[in-house]
Amino acid sequence: MENKLLVSYSPHIHDDSASVQRIMLDVILALLPAVLFSFYLFGIGAIIVTVVAVASAVLWEWLIAKYLLKRQPQIWDLSAALTGLLLAMNVPSNLPVWMILVGTLIAIGVGKMSFGGLGQNIFNPALVGRVFMLISFPVAMTSWPIPLKSRMHYLDAVTGATPLGVIKEGVRNGEKISDLMHQIPSHMQMFYGIMGGSLGEMAALLLILGGIYLLIRKVITWHIPVSIIGTVFLFGGLLWLMNPEKYPDPLFQILTGGVMLGAIFMATDYVSSPMTPIGKLIFGFFIGILVVIIREWGAYPEGVSFAILIMNAFVPLIDKYTKPRVFGTKKMKKQN
């Protein structure tokens, strides 16, 4: 076949600067500063959790594709590795290995492959895994090692509460926010990432840097991150203005927990987010609203995962109603 002329439909050239593999690699690269920083903060535990999560996610993908679905495994598109990494970013650094294995199995097996693999899943696989773990292992998933304290410890790391947890607990006990504020790190510390929480929730600064990289590489658009963070800020701010002693200030809302990680890396997952700019804004807006609602009135101190998963389910609906306008349809404005 070597000297035969090729025949195909047009176009005869293709933009090779973006491939699935390259996109996944870009996201991983964008996450890397935050990952390394979490190694610095949490030491050996963070390294174990990350390595195990990535390796097991890839392994599950390979096994399921090869032996259950009987098809060529596609692990080199790096999507499974990314799912593993994102899952690692969403758990505490003292999580036992077996729990991580269960988490990645659920993420890949249930969250992704059961729908038919890459591109078919309705929900963000990493979040499916994470929420499954949160519900199944509530204690392990909410005991947060204190940063910098026990870098050489893994399972036996010294744990504490997250800022969100402190506030939630305090408000529930009728304490005032102003009294609670000195129990948690300052806003600047949170911005740089010195606080309790899961691996990837730490440094807002580094996550934003990663986000900027993704924007420059045109992997994501600004719509989802801005609308989520903006909505959380505005809605949280509104509540704060109404009662600053019951609701924390809006900066606190966006700097703590998974808002940054969720807005920049989780909600922007292509497969489970809307297609059009308007759809993305609607998607982000409702995620923001849900995050604040769950945080302030829900049972859990943090609600980013739930908010994104809930909105994932609405993506087909959003897509259906935010189709782009077809050229030459509908009335145009007055012609010049």
């Binding site: 035969k4 090729l6 025949v7 195909s8 439909y9």
Partner: protein, 289 residues
């Protein structure tokens, strides 16, 4: 009172009330249907293949109950038996039809039909056909992506991995016509099964002039007319440089096949001839799986 008992009683009452409402609604809004539709549908094969021209068996059954004659209505899958039972239910005269089978009228495996191009698009015959004349010199022959296989509801056609041509499984083929419809090159034809399942047909649809056909494919019909002359029953006609054997007139005498210089006339399910025609080895016996 024990709260469990209360719960049971309440649920039971709710259940009874809801059941009554459902019964009432079902009775009130019942759609009157011809009961024969169900009966007819019962005897139909239920494959929903569309071979009758209706989207599914149910729609066909509805159409049957509305018609006054069975002329023009036929279920190729169920055949005469099913149509006879349908006629019985509806009290109409059954119309008999000869059983048919799909035959593939292209024998151009790559051995005989050299590949000229590499098609670099979706593996879909309809799309390749819409784009250009195909990856061989022959602009009429099989493209080999298996649109017919995808269309078949009965697993009655498959692609031969060696010849890259479709093969009809006679036992499974119901002559529903889905493959005929699916083939963009009109290669597949429904032909009567014939006595003892014996059939003679031209396995080529190339309408080019003889020279061009011969250049494109070694087993293509060049329209030489030998077969037409050999046929004593006027069953063979040459049109557009292509021979066609009319199954209604063909008496299966097999006079035509040996005179074909390109061996494009196929004989199915006949006993082996005593003297094999002199010219080279042929791709003649189609595997019948």
């Amino acid at each position: 009172m024990n709260p469990i008992i209360i719960a049971v009683v309440v649920l039971a009452i709710v259940g009874i009330v809801a059941g009554l409402i459902l019964y009432y609604v079902a009775e009130k809004f019942k759609v009157e249907e011809d009961p024969r539709i169900d009966q007819v549908e019962e005897v139909l094969p239920g494959a929903n293949c569309g071979g009758c021209g209706y989207p599914g068996c149910r729609q066909f059954a509805e159409a049957l109950t509305r018609t006054d004659t069975l002329e023009g209505y036929f279920c190729p899958v169920g055949g005469n038996d099913v149509m006879a039972r349908v006629a019985e239910i509806l009290g109409l005269e059954a119309v008999e039809k000869e059983k048919q089978l799909a035959v593939v009228r292209c024998a151009g495996s790559y051995e005989f039909r050299p590949v000229t191009n590499e098609y670099d698009g979706p593996a879909n015959c309809a799309m390749e056909h819409a784009l250009y004349s195909g990856h061989t010199e022959c602009q009429y022959g099989c493209l080999g992506h298996g649109d017919c296989v995808a269309a078949c509801e009965f697993d009655a056609i498959y692609m031969d991995p060696v010849t890259n041509l479709p093969v009809v499984v006679e036992e499974k083929c119901t002559a529903c016509g889905a493959c005929v419809e699916a083939c963009p090159r009109d290669i597949i034809e429904l032909r009567p099964v014939g006595k003892k399942s014996r059939r003679v047909y031209v396995a080529c649809v190339n309408e080019d002039k003889g020279g061009l056909t011969a250049k494109a494919c070694k087993v293509g019909c060049i329209g030489c007319g030998n077969c037409e002359k050999a046929c004593e029953f006027d069953a063979i006609t040459i049109e557009n440089n292509l021979s066609y054997i009319d199954p209604a007139k063909c008496r299966l005498c097999r006079a035509c096949a040996p005179v074909c210089p390109t061996e494009s006339i196929w004989e199915l399910n006949f006993p082996v001839r005593r003297a094999i025609p002199s010219n080279k080895v042929k791709p003649k016996k189609k595997p019948t799986a």
